[in-house]
Symmetry: C2
Subunit: 227 residues, 2 copies
């Protein structure tokens, strides 16, 4: 592999929350052992139930992580972009994929397989500790998502989700969220129609304004106190 690729890969892994706090050298060692792979828009990275033993770090593009319900029904669990990763669970425990990952846009990933990763990890105790902490946090977030889903009705969940989406894109300083109502519905695991009706209620209150393929937060404070 050309030397020129190496530094950017290292930086990529370094920005990965999963590994963020590790020494540079360790990360470089891991990056050196990965391979890149490309997927077209709509291409499958992996599917629920498949045996899986690799971690994908997104270099560029966007991946949608979803779980299905047997019947065509499915829910979007997460979107992951550059610097984040998918498939880390299969990496750690070697079990079949628990979700499906699909490229939404043309996407390039850095692939690290289980054997490589475990070998690398077993000689770096500090890395393992950091990983434990990261995975704990993720478990915690999932627990919270479960609780929200159990206890909160659609209006509250929607408000919460809007604020999250707003927060993510807040780096770009814009209150405008680029997302379709159908995609939002899939995240909240409700029907598109319900999302639409609730959004219009928020709009009537002046909390948001709606556009085709976008939602603009007008009163984040009101949304926050509501949620």
């Amino acid at each position: 592999m050309p030397d020129s690729v190496q530094p950017s890969r290292t930086r990529l892994l370094h920005d990965l929350p999963l590994l963020a706090r590790l020494p540079e050298a360790d990360i470089a060692a891991l990056a050196a052992r990965g391979r890149t792979r490309d997927y077209p828009a709509g291409g499958a990275i992996f599917r629920e139930g498949e045996p899986g033993d690799s971690l994908h770090v997104v270099i560029s593009g966007l991946i949608r992580v979803s779980v299905g319900a047997g019947s065509g029904d499915e829910a979007t669990v997460a979107h992951v972009g550059p610097g984040d990763c998918v498939g880390e669970l299969a990496l750690l425990d070697g079990r079949p994929r628990s979700a499906t990952a699909t490229a939404v846009e043309p996407t390039r990933t850095l692939v690290v397989d289980r054997r490589t990763f475990v070998a690398w990890l077993s000689e770096r105790p500090a890395a393992a500790l950091a990983l434990l902490e990261t995975i704990s946090l993720r478990l915690r977030r999932t627990d919270e998502a479960l609780a929200d889903f159990c206890f909160l009705d659609l209006p509250h969940r929607l408000a919460k989700r809007l604020l999250e989406l707003h927060g993510v894109s807040n780096g770009s300083r814009s209150p405008r969220i680029r997302i379709t109502q159908a995609a939002l519905a899939s995240m909240l695991v409700v029907s598109r129609e319900s999302v639409n009706k609730q959004l219009n209620r928020f709009a009537r209150d002046g909390w948001v304004t709606l556009g085709r393929g976008s939602i603009t937060i007008r009163d984040a404070h009101a949304l926050r106190t509501f949620a």
Copy 2:
């Protein structure tokens, strides 16, 4: 601490799924540093939101783990008995408790605090790896619970849960599950009445028979194919 206590503690930790695959000596080292604590029936081990930095391994008794919803509404997340543990998340990431743990019966636990645990762990890379795998599995199970809750209706979730409860008590070879319908409802996060009505439907089909404080599985196969 008396020598006589030590071996049983070590065995206890050894049976803990979180640590099961570790060498005996490592486990003994950890057990030696813990302290036992006793709780009366109904006593609080810890509460949601509290700062937490300790792991409790149940020596005897039974603990109910629950999450609340602000409004008095709450859901039972798990029951943990001897050999299992609660509070491991706070241990790993030092965050506030994400759930409440209450002793259902008089309960004795072995307490290991964060500092102790991290010190112990950082000199045992293999342990960290095993832990990572264990936590991954737990994350996976939570994900699955979330998916079930999203996609399955009450009858299916109930059937599934009955089989799980049956499986747990299967060691004692009895198809009779000792649980009240209210407790079951709290696990499934539905009303007691709904559980009752569905149970009676199952009973009409001859799949279960109901008693005061107990449910007896008559046709596990039918339940399984249904769920």
